[in-house]
Structures are given as structure tokens and as C-alpha cells.
Symmetry: C2
Subunit: 365 residues, 2 copies
Amino acid sequence: MPDIAGLPLEQISASVARAILEEGVAALQYGDTTGRLKTKQVICGLVADFDIQIVPEDLIITTGAQQALELIGKTFIDRGDVVITEGPSYLGALQAFSAYEPDVHTIPSDENGMDTDLLAEELARLGPRGAKFIYTIPNFNNPSGVTMSLERRMHLLDLARKYDILVIEDDAYGRLRFEEETIPPMRSIDPNILYLGTVSKIFAPGLRTGWIIGPRPILEKIKLVKQGDDLCGSTLNQVIVERYFTEIDWRSTLDATIGRYHERRDALLSALEEYFPAEATWTRPQGGLFVWINLPEHIKTKQLLPFALEKGVTFVPGDGCYPAGTGLGLSSMRVCFSFEEPGKLREAIRRLAAAIDEYLEASKA
Amino acid sequence: MPDIAGLPLEQISASVARAILEEGVAALQYGDTTGRLKTKQVICGLVADFDIQIVPEDLIITTGAQQALELIGKTFIDRGDVVITEGPSYLGALQAFSAYEPDVHTIPSDENGMDTDLLAEELARLGPRGAKFIYTIPNFNNPSGVTMSLERRMHLLDLARKYDILVIEDDAYGRLRFEEETIPPMRSIDPNILYLGTVSKIFAPGLRTGWIIGPRPILEKIKLVKQGDDLCGSTLNQVIVERYFTEIDWRSTLDATIGRYHERRDALLSALEEYFPAEATWTRPQGGLFVWINLPEHIKTKQLLPFALEKGVTFVPGDGCYPAGTGLGLSSMRVCFSFEEPGKLREAIRRLAAAIDEYLEASKA
């Protein structure tokens, strides 16, 4: 979970109360399937920070970015269609797509994100339009924490153009950078891709407000699908989002949160250095919420989990971040540094290391 | 759209403002996929009015009843599966199910709802478990406005038991009765069915809060599907629902709304008597929002629609309320009496009758 303890609750409370009186019952009524015009305008302003220049007709507001993934699955995937993701990839995306039974091909990623040389080989094998889409989280990937280099982004776009394959850029974490320079989103370079965003990591997950930016003919299809999914999103939540990003000093609040994430990442990484086995490796994210840890092959993180839970610590076993049955990620785990104080993170890693010892001990027995 | 002009906005505004301060950031954070415990408790209280005795574990909160329909489609329907609905049925349900490519069989309905004798014949043809489920809106059906008699409800439950087929009772409109006595929902008689409800027609559609009540093993499956759809519903909206149904005199507000609907239905029916062609027939709903009109066969309501729009009046052409390609409902239409004042409804029907004349004139030419 993102840490939202810094939200200015009194201001938000007053802003919401005023909004209900000013908007009247319209704030509580059904709304347009694609979202409120004013909310769309606010989102256009937000993405302009990353040089994505759009008008409200270029986006659809979704019930969180998770619904965007479900809509994309329902719109594009027929059973057996090839879909390409980096590995590891977001558990919730794999889950959303899997309902439509795609054949998911995984391209390994390293410290610079998806390996686009391997992608090039895969696309050469599949041929033009050989996949329905390429799904990637280029900034502070969930679960790996890594960021795709600009060079790789350009390479991916070239390949997508060459093979006529849609790119889906999930930028849920893009604003959470605490180190080095922002790398332009692919959508700022190529308007033919789908770009996903959300307020969950920059304001409030509980408002379930995300968006899809994309070419209008594609948005038309997604709109029809969305009608069947939920008729429309929550009108009131959209009103609250509008007000938050126009009435409240959200940038300072977010900066403070990012500062806390930075500090927590540092605490986590130094605890890993101190407590974890020498054979373990892990990523060093420049932002976001997650670190990905690779343990020696003989440690299976799914079997390790009960030992960790016993000590009051949890993590996401790595195999869930790959398509089912691939046998990948079995010795990896995702840990999250966003929600707890440095001291607690340090203690968690100490306990996790102890859980690994106990697991190894038990495996010997 | 339901008429929500009577909502006590000042009370709601104050209640929401207080809720944000009292609940703290938890109101804005991710929540449980199946919904907040307290919201579930409130819903248990609401359905107890209809003698549905449940505990929170017996329900899942959904992003409006529309998401409930999508979740049911995704959970139960494989391509080609038989699904049974009454005819006409809710457009949005047909749309939600159609994504999963079922074979929808339509059982005609009359002034007492789905004709269960015809259902019995159909089920005898299909055999045990010959359909995935029977979907019905027994109270003030959308679009027909008709209500299923108690005798038919009992017959339907008997048949479902005999052929081992799941029943889905969509009770979105059940509280909107302005005439005669409440008929018990099937869920109050048989706990093995799925029962859908929503706050959209008794509070606010813009909060997208509905629910599925059903056997726990089925809810477990639906919960997994919901994770992929949206992770969780809006936490804040659930908090608002809790507060509305515990802090505010919602029953008086709803009674006043139902009184307006009654008056509007009367105005609509008397205008139909006065202006519509003698060959037309229509339903006489005891509650809800809709009247279903059957015109002579040579009038195709889809072709009639542009003539009506020209006069500033709209309706839902009947064929959309049947599965695509069946050729049913071509001369029918759904009209809605909930949203406009009696005078406006009267004028709308006058114009609609004039549009029919113009359409007939143009057809001759």
C-alpha cells in the first residue's frame, strides 16, 4: 500500500463537503461512461508535466488502473492470442489478462528494464502483428522496481512500429522518483500507444480513479466494453479528484511522501546488505515502492512464506509475477518499502533473514 | 436516471466531511476486495426488511450492480453456455454477459413476469444443468416494468431445484413500490440463489455501490474474479453509504421519491391513453421507473427513434432488450417516467405520438 498518512485530511474533508454543495445532486448521479469532462481536463494537466500533450477526448477515466487492465484484456484478447510482458510483471495485470486466456510470452528484464534485444528476437519469430500487445511498466516496475532506459524505450517503440504491435505503457508509479532524472514516458514520443495512469499512488487509492490515454478509435471500443463493465465510474470520486488537484497543494504533500519513500528504500537496502545471505541479489530502485530479491535457486520463496508469516513478515513470492506454469521466479520475492518506517523495515528484513535460516534448516531435516 | 433531487445535500455534505475526519486516511486507502465489514453490516440491515436474514460473510460489495453482472458473466459463462433470461430483459445485463459469448435463451414474460410454464418446457428440453443460470428481474422489471407473481416465483424456484440450475435475482428496483403489496424476494425463500442489489435507486447512483448475496463457495470464486477486475471498490463511497443509511432519515427521503414516481407513472399512463394509437398496448407497473410499450408490427421503433429525437424525446428501442439477432422487440420501446415532472411527461408522450404519425407518413411515401 502507498503511504497516504501525509494527506491533508482537514483540507480534503472541507473540499469534499463544499464540492457536494456546489455540484449539487450531479455529484451523486450517473455520469458519462468515459468520465467527467472536468476531471479529464485535470488529468490532461497532470500528464502535461511529462510532456504528454492531450485534450479530454484522448482519455477515458477508469475505476482505478486495475479496471484499465481488465478493459484492455476484454477489448483485445481472444483465447490463445499472444501477449508480451516483461518478466517479472505486475501480478494484477497477469490476473486481469488471464481471464481472456492469452498465451503470455515473457521477455526477461535487467537493471535497464525489458531486454529489447530479446524482444526483437521474439518479434522476429512471431512476425508482423504476431502479438496483440506489449505490456510494460517502464518506471519503477511492479514488482522489480527497475526503470527502463531511454535507449530501450526508443528501441521498443521502433520494434512495435516495425511489427505493427500495440504498446501498453503502465505508468502507475512514474511520479514517485527520488533519485536521478525523469526519463520521458513513451507516450510523449509516440501517440499511438496506450498509456495508463492512476491517482492511487499520488493521492488516494480508495477513490479508484485511473485513466487510459490512447488513440480515439481504440478508446471508442474500450468505451463500449466499459459500459458493460460498470456503466460509469463514481461521479463523486471524480469530483473529489478534480478538487484535490486544483484546490490543494498536492505537490508538496507528494514531495514529502517521496522523501519518506527514499529514506525507506535506503533503510531496506542497507538492511539487506547487513542481514541477507551473500548469494542473494536485489534491485536498487530509483523510485516507486518495490525491491525485487533473487535468492539462491534452492530456496523456494513460496515455501519460505509460512516461515516469514510466523515471524510477522510478508512478501509476494516471485512466481506469481510470471504466467502460471512457467516455473519462473520460484526463488524470487517482491518486498515493499513504502508503508513502514525505516526501523520497522530494518527489523522486517532481519526477521526475513532469520526465516530463511529456519527454512534452510527445515529443508535439511 | 432515478430522480435524486430530493436528497438532503446539506446533511450528506456534513456527514461525508465528518466521516473523512473520523475514519482518517483509512477512508482513502485500498480496502478489502469484497468490501468493508461495516458497509456489509449496513446492507445486511437493509435486506432484512425483505426477510433476507444474512451475515456479512454472505455478501460481496460491487462497483454498482452492473459490476455484479460483469462478475457473474466472467465467473460462470464459457463460450456457448446456455443462459436463460426473461424477454425483454435488462440491456446492461445482456451486454455484460455477451462479452463471454453465451447462448441466451429468452422466456417470454407477461403481466405476471417470466412465463414459468414456458420455462418448464425449455428446461425439459435442455435437461438437468442444461443452462448455467436463469437471470431475472422480478420486481418492476427493466425494461418491462412488470412484477413476477409469488406463484411464478415459487414455480421458478421449484424448476431451478429440479434441474439444478442457479438463479440470479436482480432486485435493483424492489424498494420502489407505490402500489399493492410487496412480494417476497426469492432469496428470502431459497438461500441457494444469487441476489443482486444496489444503492443506485434508493440513494445515489454516482457512488457505484451494489452487492451480490449468495452461497459462500460461489462468493469465493467471484471474489477472485473481482480482484482482477478492480482490486477493490471505492472505500470512501462505502463509508458514505454506511453513514447515509445510519445517520440520515433515508426512509422519508425515499418515500417522497416513490410518491413522485407514482404521480409520474399516472401522468404517463393517462397521456398514453389520450395520445397513443388504439392498437398500442403497454404495461402498468406497480413501481420502478419504466413502462414497456408494444406498437403495431409495422412500426419499427429503431426507425422511429430519429423522428422522436427530432422532437426532443427519446426512448430505448425494444430490440436492444433481447439478444442480438433474434428479431424480437422490433416494435416495442421502453419509456422512463422517473426523471421528469408530470407535465413534461405528458408533453413527451404527445410529441412521441406525433413522431409516430410522421414516421408512418414517411413510411408511406
